[in-house]
Subunit: 237 residues, 4 copies
């Protein structure tokens, strides 16, 4: 299996190739405060190949040669040992601990990309909404979020509902409660993890990124509204 | 009509050509948090040609070839079907949903440019000022805003008044209430849209951008002052 | 006087030449939110020449050829008509409205540079300290501010005192009250202008910039402390 | 000793050489608001050589030739006069006033790097936690912090404890109280200095930087939670 370390699958002169996009987007997400301290990340699936960044490295400094390529769907995401790799870095790196969670987005929603942030807006939303869901209505930015993350966009008159699951000491142990929340809330475009962050998916990386931006905006303004004593959900007329 | 896809109208080596400025300014506005999640945008009118970005694309990644060119004024902005294009992108893109609103600024104020942001400062201002207008006085930055958006600059002793209209599920349906507000408040340099954002115009892109920056500053400091329990409008001596 | 439009005085390959530094620093100050909406600015004096940016232009887009050069001290800063220029831009531009205020820093403190910002931290400080001075003590960053702006640095045990003058409709009319405040508070490194911003000076541009950063930090943390109900001035032991 | 001014020890084409990394990281820290006004800094130790930036210079403008190289451990960090230099800049510069504090991290924890910030998040944490320690629990980002700064990472179920020492007028006088705090809290990854900032170390610059980012995030969210009236330490089940 010597050629699993080949850089062929992560070498491209096309700036929109996943191996080039992931480093570029991770730099952007770092600037947005979403992936500081090596946290968070993004996966992009291109047909039967999944591109994933390594765990525990500075996200703004990832290079194409650091990226893992896994086959889809020909493997079980759990247990997370004995994973099959089409390509892995030579360095002593591990694939992102989010891998089983990313797989949920592929398996349950047919996602082409999934983004995980530790944004403080997401974490504060989970603290100020102590129940099972974050909710907000009557915000223009709701229109940038899609039903189920992969369907039609929400209307301005829809209330956005994002399930919140409880955090676990090991990231991979979130897999089952994330599945349960995705099944209970089939229209949800994302899953918040209390005291941790958020997982957002979409049919493409563009869609996942757009929805992550809209949701982060809505978490942020929701938190500010609660601080100001403003109602975040209004009755629709 | 094959040549409507020609890139001629959006190709220029001049960095101040609208087809080059719109991508550059959209990147800046993205960094300012004004156009995340594909929201917001800018139009620049050059005599009888209007340059407009597409709808639903990542604003920080727009390229000149994505830009629409429409004739001015030889068309009705409404209904928003059957628009005439001097140039449109080959990709399956739609012109910005703000187009009828931008047209209001051209028609009613002779504007040369109009900017639309989803800035949280603007949205929070519409929430903390639940009435028909946002008002603030005695701030130096008021002096950067123009009477009617296209006239003389306000004085430090003037109170800034920005009308707020109610949001609608479809952006183009804001057209008539925006017209009504512009007619009722002929001195206003901008129209806030509750729970949505703001439209700001000027004689040129420089003027529209400067006024948007001043207004966003004033929305932000107004919101902070309300949070701190400070009066935002003082009696003039 | 045809050669007053020559670019010779503002052309240099040295990146630390004032004509190159002013554009670079204005871009930085724009990113810091200090000079949005064409507000604020910086002057650098090099012996008997004063370099000043134009008024009412986008500060992050200034180029060396936009810069004015005035002789020092051979002219009266007031009235601000009939100014003498060693060099002025060909465009129809006016020198910064701050010019008489910058001259105060040269005349009264021998400053080599003066920075004016519209930072919201400065403005909020003037609102939360409604009296004649802003004060804060027991902050490490106080050590970056100099006595009188041009002397020794303050000690951690010193209380920082920054006078606040009242704003006027025309910027040049601040000149006399700024002089009065500088005379009344000879140890002050800066003058706050209520509802407007701050003027900070130093022996060199590096010193003016360092002190502006320290003061802006102190205004910001002072405002946050007031919001949190924390005392901003402690008794020294 | 003429060759102490040679640039040989600070010249490398390798971007990960300490003399190249320190300027790059200082620019990043400036953008993060950690080292404005010349405050803060970073040291990197490479075996028996310690690379340190100068004191009192604009951190975002440091160049490799400004960097000091000191031998490790062959010198006493105190008194801070009569230091031995393998290399020093020709300019009239002093090594960072943090030097004795950096030495604590080398001596007591075998650190390979130490970062000092004046981040407002750190300072506000010391104000809202008036006792001897900052504490927070049940935050995912705790997992990015290491036991003692150089050991295993903390678990999600661990409570993060960061000692707070009182500030002194002269930075070098913090040395002994920092030693005492490091001895009293052997598991601490950092030392907060009240009304001043934080010192964070790690086995490598990557580890020191990652931990500084995680801690700064935790200080920030801790401060926000206190503002919102939320408990920052929960009982573990």
């Amino acid at each position: 299996m010597g050629d699993v370390y080949s850089t062929e699958l992560v070498t491209s002169s096309d700036p929109t190739h996943p191996a080039n996009l992931i480093p570029e987007l991770c730099r952007l997400f770092y600037e947005l405060g979403w992936v500081t301290g090596t946290g968070g990340g993004i996966t992009i699936r291109h047909e039967d190949k999944v591109f994933i960044a390594p765990s525990g490295v500075q996200k703004e400094r990832i290079k194409p040669e650091h990226i893992f390529v896994l086959p889809y769907p020909e493997q079980s995401p759990s247990p997370h040992t004995d994973r099959v790799f089409l390509r892995r870095p030579e360095q002593n790196l591990k694939e992102s601990a989010c891998t089983p969670l990313f797989w949920n987005a592929f398996d349950l929603r047919g996602a082409g990309s999934c983004i995980h942030t530790h944004s403080q807006n997401a974490v504060l939303a989970t603290l100020l909404w102590p129940g099972p869901v974050f909710q907000i209505s009557h915000q223009e930015m709701i229109k940038g979020v899609r039903i189920g993350g992969n369907g039609k966009t929400l209307s301005y008159l829809d209330t956005l509902v994002v399930p919140i699951i409880e955090n676990t000491p090991h990231e991979e142990d979130l897999r089952e409660s994330m599945v349960a929340a995705m099944e209970q809330y089939p229209d949800a475009a994302a899953i918040l993890v209390r005291r941790h962050g958020v997982y957002v998916w979409g049919n493409s990386w563009e869609s996942a990124k757009t929805q992550t931006e809209c949701l982060d905006y809505l978490f942020e303004i929701g938190v500010k509204m609660r601080q100001l004593g403003l109602a975040t959900v209004l009755d629709s007329e």
